[in-house]
Amino acid sequence: MAKKKAFGFVSSVFLFLLVLGLCFVILNPILKLVPSVFSRIEDLGNPNIVWLPMNFSVVSFKAAARMIMPQGILTMVKSVLYAAIVMFLQIFFSAMAGYSLARVDFKGRKIVFFMVILVFLVPRQSLLLAQYIYFNHFDAFGLLKLFVPSGEINLIDKPAALYILAIFGFGVKQSLFVLIFSQFFKNIPKELEEAALLDGCGFYKTYFKIMVPNAVPAISTVAVLSFVWNFGDTYYTRYFNPNGAYIGSIMAQKFIGANKNAIINAIQNWYGIPTASDLAFDAVKQAGALIYLIPLLIVYMFAQKWLVENLENSGLVG
């Protein structure tokens, strides 16, 4: 009995150390940039500073905020709103697509399944030219002739192009979400559907009232993934809406190596520190990255609370 207890104790200590080690490895990048981001710009490059700043100051954050948020806090709000709208569109349409792939037996189902994997497989750069030309002369199968005399509109540089991509399944890694939903709907037993049929539900009522509440774990997974990827999407936003207010792509365009001297000059002029150097550029860049990460961390904390709550009520609902 004592041997079993000792073994249990040793194994729990071992597991604790393992998890602690993994957490340290994951948090290491953030821990390493705390001293350079939170110290004054004159103190950067001081070899005595290893883990904690000597004099606490938020100058880097102010400089970064001025540079990456040209419209103030509105830029951040617009980016979050864009990511949230695309997230809802993606969840709604991917769930419907996943359900029909899993439950509805139509001719050519295997071909469509294969094509979903193919959409996921093809690198999106190969579709870029075709999509750009199509959105440049967007004519919606000739229906726009009723509204606009020339019959086509230019959708580049308007967010509508990105929403259309999300609706039709070509958002960022969206076929992945379709596959996730199809696997989840396959795992729900058929008896629920038959019971719903006996109670008189049609096809749509079964879907909205019974299947969707059962797939809440899948919906929360897809929501977290979709929000994180769309908030940091530089590829689609740069090609289809280059002048929009998306914090990810603004940051990626401003903090490149070619702008280094311009940014260092700006720091010297705004805050009167003539000794700013390359390290100041690094500190402001990292402060910008931390500002960008704030909404993601908030979403992640909500998602964690929701996921852990679901863990306690796991199992089938209803």
Binding site: P29, L118, V122, T221, V224, L225, A252, F255, L316
Partner: protein, 180 residues
């Protein structure tokens, strides 16, 4: 649940931003292990052959690279594990199964559907972030040879499909199919 952080931190934008331009690569905590005293101790005071110590160091240095690619799979597995009804676990406990047996006989077979999906996702994602895909992209857009780039991308797709087909054929034996 710090394990979701690598998805957040692994996005290209964030990795670029967190890298310092003064030389050290910040986002990868690699190099920590090989600079530490553990490796020297292993080499000098134990008689483990040098190639083994080097390969072990290589593995420990790249833990962050592995973990940063594992976030999506963790989330999907978490959601899949929640959808197993607890009545199955109660039945297994009543029948007198130990925790080890419950894991292998109850949990793993119910996850096989999701495992197949995770395998597809991992293979395709690794190919998309590899040097092959970067080469295809550079042919098409940097060197302005769009014809060669398109041909390259079609050959790339065929190869990945072949690999996926082989892997799925092997996995088909393990997945329990209950649709007739």
């Amino acid at each position: 649940m710090i394990f979701i952080l690598p998805i957040v931190l692994g996005i290209d934008v964030v990795v670029d931003m967190l890298t310092a331009t003064t030389g050290s690569e910040l986002a990868k905590s690699g190099g920590l292990f090989s600079q530490s005293w553990i490796q020297m101790m292993l080499l000098q005071y134990t008689s483990i052959p040098k190639s083994m110590v080097m390969s072990f160091t290589n593995f420990a240095d790249n833990i962050f690279t592995v973990i940063s690619q594992v976030g999506v799979q963790t989330l999907v597995y978490l959601a899949a594990l929640q959808s197993i009804s607890p009545s199955l676990y109660e039945v297994a406990k009543i029948e007198g199964a130990t925790n080890y047996e419950i894991f292998w006989k109850v949990t793993i077979p119910l996850i096989m559907h999701i495992t197949m999906f995770v395998i597809i996702y991992t293979i395709v994602d690794l190919f998309l972030n590899s040097s092959i895909a970067a080469e295809v992209y550079s042919f098409a857009f940097d060197k302005n040879k769009i014809g060669v780039g398109s041909a390259l991308s079609i050959v790339y797709i065929f190869n990945v499909l072949l690999l996926l087909g082989i892997v799925l054929l092997i996995m088909r034996k393990l997945v329990k199919r209950d649709d007739k």
